[in-house]
Structure formats: structure tokens, C-alpha cells
């Protein structure tokens, strides 16, 4: 375990950081008191509902809402005409990019409906029943167009075209004809051809993955109220209320300062709540109706109209020498973006070979549109797909060379000083430590039976920092109010409160953390990129530093001392030298009592653009069993080892590892978007979109590796995303180990597994 760098908590020397404190918001969440998106209501509110396209691809010839508008109880109807068009401009959305020209079209279909479920109109009415009835009275004239769902088919020259102004970027020479390929990206180091020429063994495989949804249990929900002067308030379940504010102001032509957005408690996001869907509609409806409008998606709408992540086709070719040194890595990634450009193919490209030290790497990625909902970020966006393909090939190389798969990874592992293929030179990183930790587990050394298999895979994610603003206030009684501006999606308040407690030397339970609205703090980028605990804790250190400097100044005034006669140590301003004979140290609580007499309120702001996010590597180990007669796969045992840098709250770090692993299990085995030939989604519900249930999985053992991030005051790295990267490869590798078959298509659902077993004549006990 790394040493805690923070100052001790009070004079008894206890730390809150690194301990398993009870989360400050916990009481509300176990009693039903916590208010999530759909739990907010306002007097006089209307209910908003969305009319959605039944067609995967259709020109919208005309929309006649007059009959709906005439229905008693209907107070407003909005369509494409209520949203001014936007010029093409790319802006960051979480770890991905988006374009306002597309955002306005995704929020409300304009020229065309581009996927089944695409919003076409919205109504606000006095009751849900009237709103539903009104939707049926809106007459939309469609000209149905041919559609394309699959990524490879969408790339074909004769594929139905989604956007006739989409010309592939990154292609030389520049294409003269539009296509569904939005972008070609590439990273290249060394000379892969020369590398392959040196290789004793080359493995090349093509993989296919299905689109999967983030699957947050709380559907999107928003409540908006717009006054006659344009003053707007929004309550919404989001990973970034400052981002919601920016998007809504832009789409509706409002001053940012006039829009106040409050993030409700958020019932899961995983990247899927980094964009806007309902918020602009609720504002537009409220503006028209002059009454608050509440909108909540159904589960079906969540699946059909909010973003899953890409499905993809990936080709990987790797070369190694016979003693196991990787000498070349090539990959070609084709990622679905959904109806608008902006798949996570760029990070997918960068991550593919990031865990390994390889001199020659060439990765090409394509961002491809098709008639599906626009993808949104999903936990380490893009990385699980490309790293699954590479980890599968790594495993195959290990087998062919007869080298232990952990050993092979160790031999090629990125370490401090390795120059990553995507550019930077790594600082201290923990990949080797995670591999070593896995090798030392009892799990790794337990024997298996027939039809059981064991798989291992590693994973990488960058993590990000970014704009962050927090406030600390010392109250009259010495308690501390902490305000952060990034929604708490899984224990953030606990981590930040612990840091504030240790920094100011107050007990953990004397810190009350809240998430402030957009009017209460400077701009905060969203909760995403595993940044909120990393950046938030840095900002708190900054805010506490400001408070401590102020307290030292106050002490000097009170004691008539010079700054060099006092110091902040162990939770108090302490007199030094001769002064120590005369006056007693003063804690934060002591200053609180005399705040009025020493300069007024005690408060500190932490404003940073956090840099130095440390990448987090993880290695997963899984045992599974295959029923050869039915193709059913049972996960028997699972261990995660990951580098946290420093676990501010070990239990919530473990929780990230466990949750990510189980999402990965779902992705690997059963989750997928199933489309019919008609281009419609057939499994838009939790019944047939099969996320793991409690009885599907075992306990998920965790090993917290802590290789301190030197660029963070406590050594913290982001931990939230990496855990979803290794499971796909680890499970595919375990399947190979159990059956001798290399599965190259996800999900490895029973029909696929049984067919593969049958083709090899293995489908008997």
C-alpha cells in the first residue's frame, strides 16, 4: 500500500483517506429519500412525451400537429421548426467529440428520421393520458428510405446513404462522393512490415462485437421551467449539468447565465448521460406552454433512442519472435457511430496496443454511420472492443509459443519509460504489478475440470482531468461544507469529504459534501473519463490550501506574529519557536469561533484545469464452465487486479472493479442489440436485453494495486473505466481454454457457442 500523502486528520493522527467510511449521502439512499431524476415535481407541471419515428430511415415530408394542439389539455407541441439549425462545430462530449449540427438533429429529427425511435415531435399536456393521446393525433408524412444497420454493409459503395454531405475525413485523395464513412483515423509508429518480416510467428484474426447499452437502471428524466423573460431552470439526471447547460443554451439560443441546471441524484450513467436528449425538448415545451414540463423516458425509449456503444468489426495481426517478443501489431477497426458521426474509434485506435511495448504499430480506424441510435460514451469508450481483439490474439500467440499467458504479457508489458504507440511516454504505471498480483492469487493456482476454462487479459484506459471547481466553507461551529460540481455517481462525495477532512484536520463526519448547481460554482466538466475523484480531490487540496493560507494570515494577526513564526501542521496553525510558549495552536474549529473578528467568513475555492491524469492498467482472471450440450456458459470465479494509484475509498474502488467486470461479463456473453430485417430493434427491454442478474455471477475478488500517480497530491488515478476493458478478452480466452475453440464474435451466446461446438463434433458430454 502506498503511503498517504495528506496531512493527518486532526491531532489524533487519523486519516479519513484510504478508509472505508460510510458515504455522506448513504442515509438518503437506503431510506428512499434521495431524489433522482424522475422524483422531482413542480406545481402546475405538465407531462411531456415524445413522438418517435417507427422507421429506421425516412424523409420527413410534413408534420401536421394541428389535431394534437386542438386536444383539450394539450399545452404545447414542438417539432424541428422549434429548434434553429446549427452550423457544423465539433465540441468535446465526455471523452468523445460531437457536432452541434448533429446534436440538434439527434434531439429532434429534421430532414430525415435516421433510426427507429428518432424523436420527431414532442407534446406537453396536463396528464400522461392526454399526452399519449396527443401523440397519436400528430400526423407525420414519411417517405420511407432503404436502411442499413451493419457496419460493413454501411461501408459498401452502394449502401443507402444517411447524409449526402458526409465526405470521409482523413482519406487521401479526398473523396469526391459522400459515403457513410465519416472519418479514417490512424496511428503509426515504426515499420510494421519490417516487424512482421522479423516475426517467427504471425497471428491474424477478424473479430465482431455487438452494440451494447450502458444499461443504467434509471431512465433519462428532466424537468424544466422557463419564465417569460427566458430565465430557465432545469433538474435532470446527468453526468454533467454544466454540459447540459451549455448544450441547452446553444440549441435554444439562451444566455448561459440565464440557465440554471441542477443535477439530481443519478441512477447510473456509465457515459450514457453525458449528452442531452430530453432537456432541450422540456425547455422548448415549457417556453411555449409557460408552465413547468416534466419528461421521463420509458425503458423502451432508453434502448431505442439513447446511445449504446458501437458494434464493430476488428482485424488484428500481430507478430512475435519465437521467444515471445512482440515485434509488430496491426489493426483495422470499423466502429458503428449510429446515425451521426462520432463513434469512439479514435480512443479504440489509441488503446489497442497501449498495454504493450511494441516498436512497430499501425492501427487504422473507421467511423461509420448507419441507421441506429447515435452512440454515446460507454465506460472506456472504444477500448474494450479493440483491446478484446488484441488480447485474444495475444492469448493465441502464448498458446502457439507454449509460453504462459501472464509471462508473455509480462515480457511485453508497458512500464515506466515505455513510449506508447499513441504518443506519450508512460510515467510510473502498474501493469506489471497487476500481472504479478494475479499470478500470486490462489485463484490462478487452482486446478480446473473438463469443460472448464481459465482466461486472463489485461486492459488500459487513459483517464482524464479537466476543468474543475469546488468550494469549501468553514461554518460557524467548525463544520465544513463542501460543494462539488460533478454529479456523484458512485461514492464521489465520500472520497472528496475524506480528502477535505484530512486536508483541514477535521473529522470526516464534520464535512458535509453537496453537489452544487450550475449557478453555484465555476464551470465543471462532467463526471466521466474517471475524472471526478481524481480532479475533484486535486481541486479540494487547492481549496484547502487557500483556506490554510488565510488561517495562517489570521493567526499572524491574532498572535501579532510574522508568517515565519507559524506553520500549518497536523490540522492546526501552530506557533513556532518562542511564540509557542505564548499561544496555543488553533484548529479550524478554533478559527470558526473567531471568524467574525478575524476577517469574516472562512471559505476557499479550488479552481483548476486538472492535468496529469495517470493511466490505469488492470488484469482480470476468470474461470468458466461450458455446458457442451446447450452452449450455456457459467462464470465460476473472477478476480480483478487494477492499479488505483491510491484508493481514496477502497470499498468504492473495489465496487468500480466489480461493477465493470460484471458489465464486461454481460458484453461478452449475452448483451446485444438485435435488429430485424425491417431495421427495428427487437429487444428494447430488460427482458430480452440480457444484463447479468445476481444469480449469473460469482463474487468478484479484487486486488487493489497502488502505484502512486506522481502528478496527484495523493497519488490517485482514475479507476472507473479500466475495469470494463479486460473482461471481454479474458472470457474469450477462457472459452478457448475450455473448448479449444477461438470465439471471435461477441456475444458468445448459447446458440453461437453450441453451433461452434457442434461444428467440431464436441457437443456431447
Amino acid at each position: 500500500m502506498a503511503e498517504t500523502n495528506g496531512s493527518p486528520n486532526g491531532t489524533n493522527g487519523q486519516h479519513a483517506v484510504g478508509t472505508r467510511t460510510v458515504r455522506p449521502d448513504g442515509m438518503d439512499k437506503v431510506t428512499g429519500r434521495a431524489r433522482f431524476g424522475a422524483d422531482y415535481n413542480l406545481p402546475g407541471q405538465l407531462i411531456g412525451r415524445v413522438l418517435r419515428s417507427p422507421h429506421p430511415h425516412a424523409r420527413i415530408v410534413a408534420i401536421d400537429a394541428s389535431r394534437a394542439e386542438a386536444l383539450p389539455g394539450v399545452k404545447a407541441v414542438v417539432t424541428r421548426d422549434d429548434f434553429p439549425d446549427q452550423p457544423s462545430e465539433f465540441i468535446p462530449a465526455g471523452e468523445m467529440m460531437m457536432n452541434y449540427k448533429d446534436v440538434v438533429r439527434n434531439v429532434m429529427a429534421r430532414e430525415k428520421a435516421l433510426y427507429e425511435g428518432h424523436a420527431v415531435a414532442a407534446v406537453a399536456a396536463t396528464t400522461t393520458a392526454i399526452a399519449r393521446k396527443a401523440l397519436r393525433l400528430i400526423d407525420v408524412k414519411y417517405e420511407v428510405l432503404p436502411h442499413v444497420i451493419d457496419v460493413v454493409q454501411a461501408m459498401a459503395p452502394d449502401a443507402p446513404l444517411l447524409h449526402d454531405d458526409l465526405f470521409t475525413v482523413g482519406m487521401e485523395p479526398k473523396p469526391e462522393k459522400p459515403s457513410n464513412i465519416a472519418k479514417r483515423v490512424e496511428i503509426k509508429v515504426g515499420d510494421v512490415e519490417a516487424g512482421f518480416a522479423r516475426a517467427d510467428i504471425i497471428v491474424e484474426r477478424e473479430f465482431k462485437t455487438a452494440p451494447v447499452h450502458q444499461g443504467y437502471i434509471e431512465p433519462h428524466a428532466a424537468l424544466a421551467t422557463v419564465a417569460e423573460d427566458g430565465t430557465t431552470e432545469v433538474w435532470t439526471t446527468t453526468q454533467g449539468h454544466f454540459i447540459v447547460r451549455a448544450h441547452c443554451a446553444r440549441l435554444l439560443g439562451l444566455d448561459i447565465g440565464k440557465v440554471r441546471v441542477t443535477a439530481t441524484e443519478i441512477g447510473g450513467g456509465f457515459g450514457g448521460k453525458t449528452v442531452v436528449y430530453l432537456e432541450p425538448l422540456a425547455i422548448a415545451l415549457s417556453k411555449k406552454a409557460k408552465r413547468p414540463v416534466k419528461m421521463v423516458m420509458s425503458r423502451e425509449e432508453v434502448f431505442k433512442a439513447s446511445g449504446p456503444t458501437s458494434g464493430a468489426t476488428v482485424r488484428v495481426k500481430m507478430g512475435a519472435t519465437k521467444d515471445g517478443k512482440f515485434v509488430a501489431g496491426f489493426a483495422e477497426l470499423k466502429y458503428q457511430a449510429g446515425a451521426f458521426q462520432g463513434s469512439p474509434v479514435q480512443p479504440g485506435t489509441m488503446c489497442a496496443y497501449a498495454p504493450y511495448d511494441i516498436d512497430n504499430v499501425h492501427v487504422i480506424g473507421y467511423d461509420v454511420v448507419s441507421n441506429r441510435p447515435k452512440v454515446a460514451a460507454y465506460r472506456a469508450p472504444g477500448a474494450p472492443i479493440s483491446e478484446y481483439a488484441v488480447e485474444s490474439v495475444v492469448d493465441e500467440i502464448a498458446k502457439k509459443l507454449g509460453i504462459d499467458p501472464i509471462q508473455l504479457r509480462m515480457m511485453n508489458a508497458a512500464r515506466e519509460g515505455t513510449k506508447a504507440a499513441y504518443g506519450p511516454k508512460f510515467g510510473p504505471i502498474g501493469l506489471e504489478e497487476t500481472l504479478n498480483s494475479i499470478k500470486k492469487t490462489e485463484h490462478w493456482n487452482t486446478p480446473l475440470r473438463k469443460w472448464q476454462g481459465r482466461g486472463v487479459a489485461s486492459g488500459f484506459w487513459f483517464n482524464i482531468g479537466g476543468e474543475t471547481c469546488v468550494a469549501l466553507t468553514v461554518n460557524e461551529d467548525g463544520t465544513v461544507s463542501l460543494m462539488a460540481g460533478t454529479p456523484d455517481i458512485g461514492g464521489l462525495r465520500a472520497s472528496l469529504a475524506a480528502v477535505a477532512a484530512d486536508e483541514l484536520g477535521v473529522p470526516y463526519d464534520k464535512v458535509r459534501p453537496i453537489i452544487g448547481d450550475t449557478g453555484s460554482l465555476g464551470f465543471n466538466f462532467l463526471t466521466g473519463g474517471s475524472r471526478s475523484a481524481f480532479s475533484g480531490s486535486m481541486a479540494i487540496v487547492e481549496a484547502a490550501k487557500n483556506i490554510k493560507a488565510d488561517l495562517i494570515a489570521r493567526a499572524c494577526k491574532l498572535w501579532e506574529a510574522k508568517p515565519d513564526q507559524v506553520e500549518w501542521k497536523d490540522g492546526a496553525v501552530r506557533p513556532l519557536g518562542a511564540l509557542a510558549e505564548k499561544v496555543k495552536p488553533m484548529t479550524v474549529a478554533d478559527f470558526a469561533k473567531v471568524a467574525g473578528k478575524t476577517g469574516g467568513p472562512i471559505a476557499g475555492l479550488g479552481r483548476i484545469n486538472a492535468q496529469g491524469a495517470g493511466p490505469s492498467f488492470g488484469t482480470h482472471l476468470v474461470d468458466l464452465e461450458v455446458d457442451p450440450e446447450t452452449g450455456r456458459v457459467t462464470i465460476l470465479r473472477y478476480t480483478v487486479a487494477q492499479d488505483a494509484g491510491k484508493a481514496l475509498h477502497p470499498a468504492y474502488v473495489e465496487g468500480q472493479y466489480q461493477g465493470g467486470a460484471v458489465q464486461g461479463i454481460g458484453w461478452a456473453l449475452n448483451e446485444e442489440y438485435v435488429y430485424g430485417d425491417d431495421g427495428k430493434l427487437q429487444n428494447a427491454g430488460f427482458l430480452d436485453y440480457r444484463m447479468p442478474v445476481a444469480s449469473d455471477v460469482p463474487m468478484i475478488d479484487t486486488v487493489l494495486v497502488e502505484v502512486a500517480n506522481p502528478r496527484h497530491p495523493y497519488g490517485v488515478r482514475g479507476v472507473g473505466e479500466t475495469p470494463i476493458v479486460p473482461p471481454l478478452g479474458a472470457i474469450a480466452n477462457a472459452m478457448e481454454n475450455a473448448t479449444g475453440i477461438r470465439f471471435t464474435e461477441l456475444p458468445m451466446s448459447p446458440p453461437k457457442v453450441l453451433k461452434a461446438l457442434k461444428d467440431k463434433g464436441l457437443n456431447k458430454v
Binding site: D688, P692, P750, P751
Partner: protein, 286 residues
Amino acid sequence: MRYEAPDSLEGAVALLAGATGEARVLAGGTDLLVQMRADILDPDLIVDIKKIPETRSITEEKGGWRIGAAVTGAELKEHPRLKKAWPGVIEAANLIGSTQVQGRATMGGNLCNGSPAADSVPALIAAGAVATLAGPNGKRDLPVEDVMLGPRKLALRKGEIVASFFLPPRSPRSSDAYLRFIPRTEMDIAVVGAGVSLTVDGAGVVTAARVSLGAVAARVLLVPEAAQAIIGSRLDKPAQDRLEAAAQAACRPIDDKRGTVEFRIQVAGVLARRAALIALDRARES
């Protein structure tokens, strides 16, 4: 939308027979409410049958068991003697949905929802269960395999409801079992279901059997050829192979989001065999 909760079968029948628009029976509601919320159904009248004593009771009758159509899965499970007599029927009913759904879901509703993938139906058919229908012309009995005609299509006449099921008396050394295949361990609709009920003699030879398969055709199938394949055998390997082949031969499935034709046919044979072996073990011990 009208809601009525009559306290007699006659009252329920009169409401349904007299309905002018679309009328639906509400038992557990675990299918009906979902379909209403999804805009698949928008009935004018809902007749809740849970206040009718006959639909809510489990009673011994002529050596067999009468189970009200609106008895929940959780209540079935809590009836030890019924569970001992018909373990397969009870385990099938208990596979419908989660613990929460078990608190509501009923075998009457499972049958009348008209899905070929209904879990309790293959077990009831294998058991030789008879549905007692109440209608404007009084009561009539119909073997469960004859109630469902196809997806969402039932042999019920206007105003008729399923009031109860009758499970026949058990001869010694008889038992049953139900297995289904789902991709997860819980919460899915059966991709294939197989119910087997059988009787063995003192020497362990199968003297009577019924085999039923779910989710492999437009309706739940009773497969006499599969039963014939094991009658007279001790369920040794050749009999198991014959059973598997007969079960597979009876399948006429479709490809859909839950499984392929090939998968369903193959797994139907596997599950029929596995269910038969479980039933055999239980019969020997009973």
C-alpha cells in the same frame, strides 16, 4: 377503461359475455399490465378474477388436485403436499419470472397469455392436467394441450374463463420434471422448455409417460412419440437417444431474438432427456 372484481365465476362470466368492447381477464397481471403499458393492449374492460374463491384455492379432489387459475407461483411453492405430488408442475410455475413476479403470476394467466414459451404449460400438459372452463353455458373441461391453438389464440369461447386446473391422481412410483433453457440463470423467457411425467414399475421400467415441449412450435406440443420412445425402457442410453430424437423430430421452431431453429431443435432433445432422467429419479424415490 373499466375495472371490475366480481366475487363469483358467474359474475365474471356475465361481465365478459356482456362486454361490448375488448375485455381482458386480470389474474396476476404480469403479462397484461406489461402489454397495456407497451400499448399492445388497450382493453375497455378488465375483469379481476382474484376475488373469486374458486380461482384462489388449492384443494384435493378425487385423489387428485384442483388448483385455482389465479393461485400464484409463490403460493404453489408453499404447498408441501402438492409439491411432493407434482414437483415438475410446481418447479415450472416457479420459473415464471422473478421472486417479485412469483408473488403475482398464475398458471391460469400463463396459459391464457397464449405464448408457446409459457413455462408452466409444458409441465401441465405432461402432467395430463385438465383445465376447467366457466362460461355462459356452465362449466366444461378441456385438456390443457387443447386450450392454446397458436400464439395468442385460445380455444375459449366468448365469456369463458379458465377457472381451475385439475391434476389427476398419482399412481405409485410416478413423478415429473420440467427444465427450460434460458441464456441467463433467471428472468428470461424459455428458449426451449421440456416437461416429462412418468411412472415406473418396481423393476424401474417406465410404464407410462407424457412428454411436452415448449417454445419449439406455434403452440406447446404434446409429443406422444417421445413418450413411446421411453415406455418399456429403464431409460438406458438407447432409450435416451430415442427420446432425444423423437423430441427433436417433433420441433417446428422459428428463428427469433431468443434462439435459432437449429439451437432450439438440438436443445429440445437435450432437455427432454435431462427432464426424463430427473423425473425417473424422483419416481423411484416416491
